[in-house]
Symmetry: C2
DNA sequence: AGCCGATCTGGGAGCGCTCCCAGGTGTGGC
DNA sequence: GCCACACCTGGGAGCGCTCCCAGATCGGCT
């Protein structure tokens, strides 16, 4: 019959050792492929573990090792933003993969800026995880500062609210991406290039706006009055486009700080009888895999690869776990332009 | 100075007890608000815990209680599908919230059908979590059957691959939703109602196709040759629409099994010079918050609320944790039709 | 007074694991 | 022939917590 079927008791390391005819210590060494175990003993232990269906008790293990093997991925945003942001979905997926590749389990934490600060902090310091990857794009978010006081290793994805020094950051080149987009429009002969900027309480949209402005100036064009701020939503983008068209009926291009706002801009342009790209070229930022290629016409957008960002973050975090005194640095990743029919 | 600043050592329960002048047992009782602790003792312990910045060691706790306080949310799909599926993002978000509401931590598991079975199973039985919410829509997915052999409490979201009995399931009324959509089209006077079905290796699209067929028959219309299967992608939807138009140039409506495929259908219809909804009405399934309202014209779609589904799943799982012998049942949730300009 | 039960407390045991240390065995060098 | 040193093994301790049990205290009732 082998081991009793339907047995409620899960086998322990001691059981495996007894079954293999060795001591608990030797079994432990074999399972954790330690040095100093004979090949014969290792074989026997591994076979016993397989036969008994043994899997180690993680609680017992991390009680003594003081490591959990889990890493938190913290997404700190107002509730509304998270629901429909495919970029975040890609971040989660990438986080899972990249952490699995280094043998770590991802524990996902959603943390609404306004509500969940103390719960999130309590969880992170509760010893559930060995470290954290934190995405907290809003400047007013108190989380990054709170985390600084904790002893837990943290790497930020994107600029951490108000903190420029002493933290590990992996960010995209937002300003450079905006520059790519605008240079593309200039090269195509556009001269009245407006922008729909994102909320100026976040680093990324601030940098994108700065990139647009500087590139125009470098090209000898005047940015004055050609920028309109919106809130990253469809309707926000539509309204901003209306305002821009009213002020500058002669504009021939617009750089939009996110794909979702570009949808709104498309609406307004269509309703106003402007053809894309013939009358107005549109370039966006995000290159959202769901949205950008699905639009009509397909949207030219600045492509940022979340997988690449998360990979760099995990790499940094692993080094940080080895060496708590690792010198913090800002790691800026390049972006590229995905050119489609809208420009 | 209070407790030493920058102390590496985290305080233990024993420290808290000593500080409060009581025993470890009493401190434990106070912190877990057990009965049989005097008000005075409780006060002292709570104050001590606060002053020392104590947070309990979860590993030690779950070693003895055999509970982790964590619940896995398992998304079992081929890698490609997960990246750009906002429905899944909503499921994750809802899972996090609903589990937080019952004091549980979500641990997210992505499990590629083809690659990750053994890793997922190993994790789930490793004692990391107390139970699991599993989304495994593909009929060929071996995960549900593998989980059956484990002793871990599981609730499925959507029909579990090939298993109809003995499992806990919370699903949407896919057939009823399709019926709503088609009845809406019939009521609007449409008579040549085609469908772009989803992959017939999954329960949900199978049921949606069945609902379309039955409703047509009930209305005295002939479904023959008006169905085309596609793979839930944009291009799949576009190609299916082409095939349908070629076969039936006179069709006046199409029920599409997902929003993403509806985007493809829109493309094809536009290229063929058909106006929506004047020439061809389009109704879809998903009511993806990002996509459906953003389309031109905005898409009529069957609305399913992932939060509601997850809520029911968590409720069932909590009951299951209390009572392992809870009688399994199929819980079917109603859906509604979000009517927009495309129909 | 005496007793019983309810209320409260402290110490011991032990969850399953890893790590340390004390040994045992074999091999090679002098 | 003996020591040094690698290699390998087993047992003890202990991680920080919860639970059990024995005991202490205190009313209230016979």
């Amino acid at each position: 019959m082998g081991p009793r079927a339907g047995d409620e008791e899960r086998p322990t390391l001691e059981d495996v050792a007894a079954f293999a005819g060795v001591s608990r210590s030797t079994a432990s060494r074999a399972l954790n492929d330690d040095a100093y175990v004979s090949a014969a003993a290792r074989e026997k232990v591994l076979a016993a573990a397989r036969d008994l269906g043994y899997s180690p008790n993680q609680a017992a293990r991390s009680l003594v090792t003081r490591r959990t093997g889990a890493i938190a991925v913290v997404l700190s945003e107002p509730e509304s933003r998270l629901l429909d942001d495919p970029y975040r979905a890609a971040v989660m997926r990438a986080g899972y993969r990249e952490l699995a590749d280094v043998g770590r389990q991802m524990v996902l934490i959603f943390s609404d800026i306004r509500e969940d600060l103390s719960r999130t902090v309590r969880f992170l310091e509760g010893g559930h995880v060995d470290g954290a990857l934190v995405f907290a794009p809003h400047r007013a978010d108190p989380l990054p500062k709170a985390l600084r006081l904790l002893r837990i290793p943290v790497v930020f994805g994107g600029q951490a609210a108000g903190i420029r020094r002493g933290v590990h950051v992996v960010d995209f080149d937002n300003e450079g991406g905006a520059r790519l987009a605008v240079e593309h429009l200039v090269a195509a002969g556009r001269r009245r290039i407006a922008t729909i900027a994102g909320p100026q309480d976040q680093s990324a949209p601030i940098d994108r706006l700065a990139g647009w402005r500087k590139t125009l100036l470098d090209a000898g064009l005047d940015p004055a009055d050609l920028a309109e701020e919106a809130d990253f939503t469809l309707s926000g983008g539509a309204n901003a486009m209306s305002a821009l068209l009213t002020r500058h009926p002669d504009l021939d291009a617009v750089f939009v700080a996110s794909d979702m706002m570009a949808v709104g801009a498309f609406r307004t342009l269509g309703a106003a009888g402007r053809r894309i790209p013939d009358d107005v070229a549109v370039v966006s930022f995000d290159d959202n895999a769901t949205l950008a290629p699905a639009m009509d016409p397909p949207l030219t957008s600045v492509h940022q690869d979340p997988r690449e960002q998360v990979h760099a973050m995990v790499e940094t975090l692993m080094r940080l776990l080895d060496d708590q005194n690792l010198k913090p640095r800002q790691h800026i990743l390049p972006v590229s332009l995905a050119v489609r029919a809208s420009s």
